[in-house]
């Protein structure tokens, strides 16, 4: 299955970007793509755009795709805006894949972007809490960290997962984020610091939580037949799987796994004809440390209940069983909702082409990369497998 390829990728600097609005972030990612593209002219070669933005309330712009296509010089070409909460970025790539695969368009530019820091942290917490059921969950003031904390408590109780295991994920992701020039928080942390930071939603503390960030990422998706025209080293979409889950977290039979992620992973592996043992690097949705541990298990890198051990043993560093989030992940690179899934593709694109060596975090000889992108608490999950 090598019908659809990615032939160019770009990303803005992630962070608290007081210097940039939504449109500037999108422009920065597209400019980065253009400057690094091998042989592509956006004006001539792009047939349509897909724009991923998760929330209108964060930045205030209604119908944000309209302002963005104008900013990035794509006016006149067909466009569509895609939203799937924190999984918006991969939903945009999946949409572009479908447009290309169907034959409707040959070459599609995908831009995922979010401007989150213009509102206060309290307001951002409030807006994200409303992604819980506004009728039955929001009235109890359960925050986004709170939802994942409910899973963490259960995982710790059921499997003996420890605080040290959770913090190990954070230490790893900061270790790599410090090496990534585009990461939001470029700072290594010690296990002791990670374990002793201020509590957000017990048992999750500050270093268990991803960042509220501004940022954008962009990729060009095209037919495999055309790929070599644009670059000698395209990467191919080998498998896509998606799943979903109940709105209310309390209605789920399991609180230690995301059913939608298991369904998505299974479908993606089947389509790609590979298994967890074939993955050289994975970009997983570590919105919280517990989410990365659950991702190890849902993706088959560890048996149920053994994800924490994998983290503690350092098996997800480069050189371990599978390299996970070696760009810093959502934890250190940052998590601008609409950009995250596209940024995962950007990282895999560069890793599979061997372009990250100068940053000291290249997975040598990487052939297959996996992107795992979760919306809300698993109501939207996309798993995409890319290969050289």
């Amino acid at each position: 299955m090598n019908d659809v390829a990615i032939v160019a990728a770009g990303q803005s600097k992630f962070g608290k970007r007081t210097d940039a609005g939504l449109r500037n972030l999108a422009f920065e990612a597209v400019k980065d793509l253009v400057e690094h593209a091998d042989n592509i002219s956006l004006k001539e070669d792009i047939d349509a755009t897909v724009i991923g933005v998760a929330g209108d309330e964060f930045n205030g712009q209604g119908a944000p795709a309209a302002v963005l296509i104008d900013e990035i010089g794509m006016v006149g070409k067909p466009t569509i805006r895609v939203e799937s909460a924190c999984a918006t970025g991969t939903a945009a790539i999946k949409t572009a894949y479908s447009l290309v695969k169907s034959g409707l368009h040959d070459t599609v530019l995908v831009v995922g972007v979010e401007k989150m820091t213009a509102v206060s942290t309290a307001k951002a917490t409030e807006l994200m809490a409303r992604a819980g059921d506004i009728r039955w969950e929001y009235p109890f003031g359960c925050t986004f960290p709170g939802f994942y904390a409910l899973m963490a408590t259960k995982h710790m109780e059921e499997y003996g997962t420890t605080k040290e295991m959770l913090s190990s994920v954070s230490v790893k992701n900061h270790f790599y984020g410090a090496k990534n020039p585009k990461a939001h928080l470029r700072k290594e942390i010690t296990l002791e610091e990670a374990m002793n930071s201020i509590m957000i939603a017990h048992p999750l503390n500050l270093y268990d939580c991803s960042l509220i960030s501004d940022g954008a990422a962009a990729v060009v998706v095209t037919k495999a037949d055309l790929a070599k025209k644009y670059t000698d080293t395209p990467i191919y979409v080998r498998g896509i799987g998606s799943g979903s889950d109940t709105m209310q977290i309390s209605r789920r039979p399991s609180l230690t796994s995301l059913t939608g992620a298991r369904i998505a992973a299974q479908a993606a592996y089947k389509m790609a004809g590979v298994g967890p043992e074939d993955i050289d690097l994975a970009e997983v949705h570590d919105c919280f440390t517990i989410a990365e541990i659950i991702a190890y298990e849902d993706l088959g890198f560890a048996k149920p209940g053994e994800g924490g051990k994998l983290a503690l043993e350092g098996q997800t560093y480069i050189g371990g069983k599978v390299a996970v989030n070696v760009d810093g992940g959502l934890k250190s690179k940052g998590h601008p909702l609409g950009a995250t899934g596209v940024s995962q593709a950007y990282e895999i694109f560069r890793q599979l082409r061997g372009e990250v060596a100068s940053e000291g975090r290249q997975v040598d000889g990487a052939e297959i990369g996996l992107s795992h992108n979760v919306g809300q608490t698993g109501q939207f999950v996309n798993v995409i497998i890319y290969g050289r």
Binding site: E126, R135, Y138, P139, F140, T143, L150, K154, A201, L255
Partner: protein, 136 residues
């Protein structure tokens, strides 16, 4: 008009009004589809399993178990002055689960996953009403 929970953002439909009024009488209501038997708690007016709207009310028995919990230290804007508070998931009637605050906790033993809890009704200020969990 009674309203459910500490805060709400949606338009208040008659079904929710009725749920809140039953709460005031001490009744915690779930619903059961008369066509396919699926039970819903929190209650629903419609059955997503068989698309029937023929639902009957059933009562939630107060004794249940604690499934999981968290202690919210950094609250959303709407709960700014309440933190820290405990948000928990409880299971009732052998399999029906919901979210609520857990109050009356005096020891770590009260926070043990799997321990017995009770669901109780509490009136709040401004004509609001809510259900809560307490250690049993």
């Amino acid at each position: 008009m009674k309203k459910f929970g500490y805060v709400s953002v949606e338009h208040y439909v008659p079904f929710m009004q009725e749920f809140a009024e039953e709460l005031e009488k001490g009744n915690i209501i779930a619903t059961k589809c008369k066509t396919c038997g699926t039970e819903y708690f929190p209650p629903r007016e419609e059955c997503g399993n068989c698309y029937s709207t023929d639902m009957e009310k059933i009562k939630i028995e107060p004794e249940g178990t604690l499934v999981t919990y968290t202690i919210i230290h950094v609250p959303p804007e709407s709960h700014a002055n309440m933190a820290p508070y405990i948000v928990a998931v409880g299971e009732f009637n052998n399999g029906l689960r919901t979210m609520a605050h857990l109050v009356g906790v005096t020891s770590m033993d009260d926070l043990k996953v799997g321990r017995k809890i009770k669901i109780v009704v509490q009136k709040l200020e401004n004509d609001r009403i809510v259900y809560k969990f307490v250690p049993a």
